[in-house]
């Protein structure tokens, strides 16, 4: 889809201003792009490359390293079903197949209405709660087949609104109070201790 829109560009510039080295802002900006489009579009990566003063190849290099940055369009809801060992033993694969039938897609696919993307996932680190499923990374523990179908129905009908669209970032954005901000000092010029640390006591003569 698209480059960052005007509003996100303003946010991007604010994010950039927090780093002495522009390239450091790359990951936050990728998140921003994913929030905008639901995935990280090629154009957005090219835009981020311009903002961070790197090449697009370097951006795609970083972006592609992280599983949670999607580089192709995904549905509003990304459903991850674990089929790793604990979940598999407790019905993870049946869960996956039930959802495949329900959504009419194979895992890895996206429904025609762009509402759901279903993925077959490795361990979600909730093995004690198997079988386990995530929708936009919100956990559903020990989920029954019918319960899972209901989640889908409720999301589709709008009965359930607690899960924001894929890519949405936390609404509480970090703002460092000025008094606690280290300011933007390039690492090679950072001679003083960060402001949040107590100042070191100067070394005594001859110690």
């Amino acid at each position: 889809m698209a480059r960052l829109n005007a509003e996100n560009l303003a946010t991007a510039n604010e994010i950039l201003s927090r780093y002495p080295v522009k390239k450091s802002a790359m990951i936050p900006l990728l998140h921003l792009a994913q929030e905008q489009d639901g995935y990280v579009a090629d154009d957005a990566m090219a835009h981020i490359a311009e903002l961070c003063d790197v090449t697009p190849a370097e951006v795609v290099g970083t972006c592609s390293f992280y599983e949670m940055f999607k580089r192709h369009e995904v549905g509003t809801y990304l459903v991850n079903v674990c089929t790793n060992i604990s979940c598999m033993l407790l019905g993870g694969e049946e869960l996956l197949h039930r959802l495949e039938d329900k959504l009419g897609i194979k895992h890895g696919g996206t429904t025609e209405d762009k509402m759901f993307t279903l993925e077959d996932y490795e361990c979600l680190a909730a093995c004690t709660e198997a079988p386990c499923m995530q929708v936009n990374y919100r956990y559903f523990h020990r989920i029954e087949l019918d319960e899972a179908e209901k989640v889908i129905d409720d999301l589709r009908s709008g009965a359930r609104t607690d899960i924001p669209p894929h890519g949405t970032l936390g609404k509480v954005r970090q703002h460092i109070p000025t008094g606690r901000s280290a300011g933007i000092v390039p690492p090679e010029q950072a001679n003083e201790a960060p402001v949040w640390l107590p100042a070191p006591t100067p070394e005594g003569e001859g110690s």
Partner: protein, 832 residues
């Protein structure tokens, strides 16, 4: 390089396989071992790039006091009393294991892989690896091959993720257009979608890839390594003189590889150098001499050139040269020739015919007296830590690729300060401490302000006073200064560059690295192919040893190329020899060049191709090209290195030096030189600077070659008068780019289509004033003519200048230039 003796004394003692070796301070273990004859296998480590420890092939057992443990030898520097085992059972098991892992996904397609037979992975698996594979599962598969650039192909399944190509792109070339993508087993090297690895240096990645993942289009499936014959030589396409290995099969050159020379190219080549052999294999190469039937000579309607026997062609040449007033002979060119051929031609023209109207440069260079008279610098001097480089010349990235890589490294890694005094931004601008862009014609005024003692209060040559003062302070801060001196723009006269050079030569501790770009032009100047010069950097004026040794000697200094062409155009010449020169395309006044060829009774061309000027000649002598004769080459430092023969010339084409000898013979003279050895023997006798140069000495000097020292007297001309500024015009600047449509490139299939489309570039703020819109077609006109091209906005162009790339077919800025003017103004107007 560091002095070996002194470092040996303060060497660090390390025990390798039970024997003591002395490492240099800070030396990596892998290097220290190799220098002492213990080779540790490796894939990712490359001595010209920073170590990354990606492949683990170099694991060896190391004890630094905490007991033996496996460590990657490319990542640890030697420390005192280190104990190292490179052949222990543990080390061997580690190597065996690493190879087994690498081969998990690497296909065993060696029989159809281009790298088979010269593949480090294959070789090391043979030497250190497991005999057979335990891996029966399916390997990775990818689409085969993908073109990551026009000339480089990638078979991703073969890649062992050593990070060499990607590190090269970022660290060495500064074009990080390829990158690892994905993760784990799915990691691959790739570009951003639809943004190819269009680096001028991409071909180097093919050479350093330790497997067959990267291949170059011109060599893919052309030969097997064991069928190749090879010889070391020097690249002649530009004046850096990069060292290369020339490889051929069945009398056809198939590949150039870079050779690592400490003082020159560090193993790297620009793609233009790397793939230039294609042109010399081209079917358009002249294989036989051509002659225009005699009756048609001089008449308006000229007959076609026809193939003729050598005897006929040479006799025709002799007839046009014999008993002719030496002042009515002109010779242009010679920069393509070997040093030996240049000497023979100099001897023929100056010493036998007695004419001094000889100029190897085509009005787009610098006066020989200047280049030979200023203190010379080597690339190493320019790149030495603590120094300052002042660039007054063409963009090294576009013109002198291997030099660009050295300068870039010097600035980034060794803290060399770069100051640009160029007419527009260059490929090095982003690394420069200061980029000043004086108005064309006014670089001298700027240079005088920079070296002067007083603080400047107003703009100089369009450069803000604050910038001038800042650079002046930098230059005065001390440290050696190396001026990289060349001609950036053919639309600005050489006098402007001379003016700047003279001013800069007053700095303390300054030396000059010539940035004349054309092939062996420095050899040509050293061999006397310039008006008023004799071989051995001697001026014609002094009663030199040549005046007694040669049969005759010109009475006084002759014409330069401009004057030769002018004389020819006026009908004051009888015979014009184009020694591998194409003045119609290369001289910055195409009209004059055309008239000159038209109005000269006999034009003789000695060349590889029938380019526009040769096609207008009356006799064309087919010459041998690079790789087709032995000899030597002089690079921009004055470094002489060997050229070796690999293949035979096409058809009956002959080396240039033999042509000089044959012509002399036809003229009833004898140059008394029958081989390159004899040329050097004569030169050593007659020119003190060559006392130590001989083919044997060059052989002994191996890859480094011999830097010839010595400068001649240079009389600085008076400072240039200020040029007036026409408020309504723009000042024309021409530049050359890596891939233009010059003769050689036009005949290299892999480079020919890479040339940019012609444009005129203006500063963004000039658009409104001129009433033109970015991207629209505009007319660029001077008193000479007009060209229509599209216009581009470029903040690297200073306000008031119009920059055009020369040597592109469709728009030739040289048609607009008056070569007698110091600067050329043009008007840029919208086309209706």
């Amino acid at each position: 390089m560091t002095n070996v003796e002194s470092t040996e004394i303060e060497g660090i003692s390390v025990t390798v396989n039970g024997a003591e070796v002395l490492a240099r301070p800070g030396e990596l273990l892998i290097d220290a071992c190799e220098r002492n004859g213990v080779y540790i296998p490796r894939f990712c480590y490359h001595p010209r790039m920073k170590p990354v420890g990606m492949c683990r092939m170099c694991l060896v057992e190391v004890d630094t006091g905490r007991g033996m443990g496996l460590q990657p030898s490319c990542m640890i520097t030697c420390s005192p009393d280190m104990v190292v085992e490179t052949e222990s059972e543990v080390t061997k098991k580690a190597q065996d294991g690493v190879l087994e892992f690498l081969l998990i996904n690497h296909p065993l397609d060696c029989p159809v892989c281009d790298k088979g037979g010269e593949c480090p992975l294959q070789d090391q698996t043979m030497a250190y690896g497991p005999g057979e594979s335990r891996f029966v599962e399916e390997k990775r598969h990818y689409e085969k091959p993908i073109a990551i650039s026009d000339n480089v192909y990638l078979d991703r399944e073969r890649c062992i993720l050593c990070d060499r190509c990607t590190r090269f792109a970022k660290e060495v070339a500064g074009d990080p257009l390829i990158h690892f993508q994905g993760r784990g087993n799915g990691t691959e090297v790739n570009t951003f979608p639809d943004e190819p690895f269009s680096s001028y240096f991409a071909g180097n990645t093919v050479q350093i890839c330790p497997v067959g993942a990267l291949t170059a289009k011109p060599y893919r499936f052309q030969a097997r390594p064991w069928d190749l014959e090879e010889v070391q030589s020097t690249a002649t396409i530009d004046s850096v003189g990069s060292r290369i290995t020339v490889q051929s099969s069945r009398n056809k050159v198939l590949r150039y590889l870079g050779v690592d020379v400490d003082s020159v190219n560090w193993g790297w080549l620009s793609d233009r150098e790397r793939f230039s052999f294609e042109a010399f294999n081209h079917e358009d190469r002249l294989a036989d001499p051509l002659v225009r039937p005699e009756a048609s000579m001089g008449s308006a309607k000229r007959d076609q050139l026809v193939t003729a026997p050598w005897s006929t062609a040479l006799r025709r040449c002799a007839k046009a040269l014999q008993d002719v007033d030496p002042n009515r002979i002109g010779v242009i060119g010679g920069a393509r020739l070997s040093n030996e051929a240049q000497y023979m031609w100099a001897k023929l023209v100056k010493g036998v015919l007695g004419s001094d109207n000889v100029d190897a440069q085509l009005g787009d260079g610098l006066p020989a007296d200047l280049v030979l008279g200023l203190p010379r610098a080597t690339i190493d001097r320019a790149c030495a830590a603590g120094g300052t480089v002042v660039l007054v010349g063409p963009d090294p990235k576009e013109q002198l690729g291997a030099l660009y890589l050295r300068l870039r490294h010097a600035v980034i890694e060794d803290g060399v300060q770069l100051i640009e005094l160029t007419p527009h931004s260059t490929g090095l601008s982003r690394y420069a401490t200061h980029s000043l862009h004086p108005r064309p014609g006014e670089a001298g005024a700027l240079a005088r302000a920079l070296v002067g003692d007083s603080v400047v209060e107003s703009d100089i040559a369009g450069v803000a006073a604050a910038d001038v003062n800042a650079v002046a302070a930098t230059l005065k801060a001390g440290g050696p200064v190396t001026v990289v001196l060349g001609r950036s723009s053919a639309a600005e006269s050489e006098d402007a560059v001379v003016d700047a050079a003279v001013a800069l030569s007053s700095l303390d501790d300054v030396a000059f690295l010539s940035a004349l770009t054309r092939g062996n032009v420095h050899g040509a100047l050293d061999m006397g192919l310039a008006p008023g010069r004799l071989p051995g950097r001697q001026p014609l004026a002094t009663g030199s040893s040549f005046s007694t040794a040669w049969p005759t000697m010109p009475a006084e200094a002759g014409f330069d190329t401009h004057e030769i062409l002018q004389a020819a155009a006026d009908g004051r010449l009888d015979t014009l020899v184009l020694l591998a020169a194409d003045p119609i395309n290369d001289f910055p006044d195409a009209d004059l060049a055309r008239q000159a060829l038209e109005n000269t009774p006999t034009v003789i061309a000695v060349d590889l191709f029938l380019h526009e000027s040769a096609a207008a000649a009356d006799v064309v002598l087919a010459a041998a090209g690079p790789g087709e004769y032995a000899g030597s080459f002089t690079n921009l430092e004055g470094r002489i290195s060997q050229l070796n023969q690999m293949v035979t010339p096409p058809g009956t084409a002959r080396p240039d030096w033999i042509l000089a000898a044959e012509l002399a013979f036809q003229l009833g003279a004898d140059l008394e030189l029958e081989s390159p050895e004899q040329v050097w023997a004569e030169l050593a006798d007659l020119a003190p600077i060559y006392a130590d140069v001989s083919p044997a000495a060059l052989e002994a000097a191996a890859v480094e070659g011999i830097v010839v020292e010595g400068t001649s007297l240079f009389e600085a001309p008076a400072p240039l008068e200020a040029v007036s500024n026409d408020q309504y015009a723009l000042r024309l600047v021409t530049r050359r780019v890596m891939y233009d449509q010059g003769t050689v490139l036009a005949h290299s299939p892999s480079s020919a289509h890479l040339s940019p489309s012609p444009k005129v570039a203006l500063h963004p703020t000039d658009f409104e004033r001129l009433g033109v819109a970015e991207g629209s077609d505009v007319s660029v006109s001077s008193a000479r003519g007009a060209i229509t091209v599209s216009v581009l906005s470029d903040s690297g162009v200073p306000r008031g200048s119009a920059v055009m790339v020369s040597h592109l077919e469709d728009a030739r800025p040289y048609e607009l230039i008056d070569a007698t003017a110091v600067v050329n103004d043009v008007r840029v107007e919208p086309v209706a």
